[in-house]
Point group: none
Chain length 199, copies 4
C-alpha cells in the first residue's frame, strides 16, 4: 500500500468537498479557529478568510456558533463513517483493525489535532455536548470491537480497556508534533495499545 501522506489526503478531501458557500465558510472557520483560537475567530475574520461578507455568513447560519456546530458535525460524521465502515471485515485481528482505524482516522481528520484541540474548548455548552456525544459513540464502537476479541485480551475490564484505548490514542494524536505524526504516530500508538491489551 503506497503511503500517501496525511497532508495530501487532507488536501484532496478539501478539494473533493463541493465548494458551496456553506462549505467555504465552514472551512474558513476551521482555519481561523486553528490560527487565532476561539476568541480570535470573529465573524468578520471568518467572512474575510472565506472571501464573503459577514452578511453571507448569516444567510447560511443562525449565528456564529452554528458555524462551529456545522464544523463539528462534519468532523464527527467523518469519524463515525470510518468506524461504521470498519465493522464489516471478518476474521481481522484486533490490532490490525485498530491500526486500520487509526490510519484512516488520522488521514481523514481534515485539520488534524489542532482543530480538535480548539473544538473541545468552544465555550458554548451545546457544542461541547456534541463533541461528548461523538466520544460516547466512538466508545461504543471501540467497546464492541474489544468485545469481539475478548479472548485475546489480558485486560479484564472492558470499560477500562475502552477508556485507555480512546484516551491514550487521542492523547498521542492530539499532541502530534512535526517529528511524530502520520505513520510513525500510528505505529507508536498501535505498539502502546498492543502491549497494554494483549499478553
Amino acid at each position: 500500500m503506497p503511503r500517501r501522506s496525511a497532508k495530501s489526503l487532507t488536501r484532496q478531501a478539501k478539494q473533493a468537498r463541493a465548494k458551496t458557500t456553506v462549505n467555504v465558510i465552514v472551512d474558513a472557520a476551521a482555519q481561523v479557529l486553528i490560527r487565532e483560537g476561539y476568541a480570535g475567530a470573529t465573524t468578520n475574520r471568518i467572512a474575510e478568510r472565506a472571501g464573503v461578507s459577514v452578511g453571507s455568513v448569516y444567510q447560511y447560519f443562525d449565528d456564529k456558533d452554528a458555524v462551529f456546530a456545522r464544523l463539528i458535525d462534519r468532523e464527527i460524521e467523518a469519524v463515525v463513517s470510518i468506524f461504521s465502515a470498519g465493522t464489516g471485515i471478518p476474521e481481522e485481528s484486533l490490532m490490525s483493525a485498530l491500526r486500520r482505524l487509526l490510519t484512516v482516522a488520522v488521514e481523514t481528520w481534515s485539520y488534524g489535532p489542532q482543530l480538535y484541540r480548539q473544538l473541545e474548548h468552544v465555550p458554548d455548552d451545546a457544542l461541547r455536548r456534541r463533541v461528548t456525544e461523538a466520544k460516547t459513540l466512538l466508545a461504543g464502537f471501540i467497546r464492541s470491537l474489544l468485545e469481539t476479541h475478548r479472548a485475546e485480551l489480558r485486560v479484564r475490564d472492558l470499560d477500562v480497556a475502552t477508556f485507555v484505548v480512546i484516551n491514550a490514542s487521542t492523547g498521542l494524536s492530539t499532541n502530534a508534533t512535526t517529528e511524530m505524526y502520520g505513520e510513525p504516530l500510528v505505529e507508536t500508538t498501535v505498539e502502546l495499545l498492543e502491549r497494554y491489551l494483549i499478553a
Copy 2:
C-alpha cells in the same frame, strides 16, 4: 489512598502560598477561569472574586493576560519542584518513580486538569508558548528519568518513549471521569506505561 487526600493537599498548597494581593488575584483568576472559561474570565469578575478593585489588578499586572501568565508560571513551578525533588531518590525502580510522580502530580496540581485545559486555550501567543516551555521542561525530566533506567527499557528511542509517557499520561488524566480518577487512574496509567516501556 482516598480521594480527599488530594483535595486536602491542594488546600494546603493554597494555604501555604503567601496571601499577597498578587496571589489572591492569581487564585481568583484560576477559579474564574475554571468556572466561566476564558471568555467569562473578565477582569471585573476576577477582581470581584479576589475581593479587590479592577484598579488593583492593574497595579500588579500589566494587563489581563499577565495574570494568566503568572498563573501558568506558578503551575510550572509546582511541577518543576515535584520532579526536581523526585530525582533525589537512588535505587528507585522506573515504575516506582513514575507511580510516585504521577501520584504527587495529580495531588499537587492545584486546580487539576480543568485549569490546564482552559490554560492551553488562552488566546495570547506568549501564554501558549509558556505552556509549551513547561511541556519541554517536563519532557526533559522524563527523558532523564528514562535514561537512568535505560537498561530496563524495551523501547529503543528515548524521544519516542518520552512522547508516549507524557502524552498517554495526560491523555488519560485530562479525561478523568467519575469512575476513573485518583488511585485507579494512576494504577491504570502505570500499567499502560509499564507494559509499553518494559519487556
Copy 3:
C-alpha cells in the same frame, strides 16, 4: 350598524384597488406595518407578504420610505375623496354632516387608526411632513364645513373649533377600545362635538 360592515367595506375598498404590483406592495407594507411596527417592517418582510422579491420592491420604489410615502398618499386620497364628496349635499345640518363624515371615514379608513398611529411615527421627515399636509387639508375641509354652518355655532373662533373637532375626534377614535368602537364611538363623538359647537 354592525361592526362587520366596516370590515366588508374595507375589504371592498381593497378589492376595488387595481391589483398592480405597486398596490400589492403598498398593501403588504400597510399590513406588515400594523402587525410588526415600523422596526419590524423590513423590506424583505414586505416583499414576502406581497409575494414578490425584494428586487421588485426596488423596481417600483426608490427606497423603503418611498413605499410608506405612497401608502400615506393613498390614505390621504381616500380622506380627500370622502370629504370632497360630502360637500355636495345641500341643506344638510352640521351635525348630520359630521356624523356622516365620521361614519364614512371610520369605514373607509383602510386600516383604521392602527395604521395611522404607526404612520405618524415613521422616522423620515418627508413622510411626517406628508401626514401634516394631510392634516392641514383635512382642517381646510372641516373649517369650510363649519363656516357654512357658522350661524348655528356657539364657538366664535373657527380655528379653535376646527382644532377641537379634528383632535377630539382623532383622540377618541385612535383610542377605540373593544367596548367603545363603531357606531357607539361615532355617536359619542358626535355628542361631544355637538354640545361643544352648538348652544
Copy 4:
C-alpha cells in the same frame, strides 16, 4: 395667579432634577427621542447628547429600552403625583378640579406632547404596557372624580364619560400647536369637557 409659562416651569423642573449621570442620560434620551424618533434614538446618539460614552449608558441601564422605561416611569410618576395630590381639596367643583389638573399636568409634563407621542410608539411591549398601566391608573382617578360629582353630570355612563375626558384631553394636548398651547389649550379643553359633562 401670575401665569408662568409652561416652558419656564419645564425648564425649572429640569434644573431642579439632580444632575446625576442617570438623569443626564434620561434627559438626553428624551431629547433625542423627540428630535429623531425611536428609530433614530441610537445608544451612541443618546450618549453623545448626554456628554458621556456609550459605556456609561450601560453602567446605569441594562439595555437601551431600560433608558426609555426610566423615562416613562419619570413621566408617569409626575402625572400620578399630580392626580394623587389633587384629591385632597374638598368642596371643589368638578370643572375647577379638572382645570387645575389639566393646568398642572401640562406644566409638569417635562417635554410635552412630542415626547408622549414618541413614547406611545416605542416598539417594546413591556414599555408600552407601562404606558397603558399609567392610563388605567389615570382612568381610575378621573372616574372617582366624576363619581364624586355625579349629581352635576348630564352623562349617565361614567365609563363613557371617563373615556371621553381622557381621550379628548389627550387628543387636544398631544396635538398642541404653537398657536394653541398652555393656558388657551387648557381653557379650550375645559370648555369642551364642561359642555359635554354638565347640562
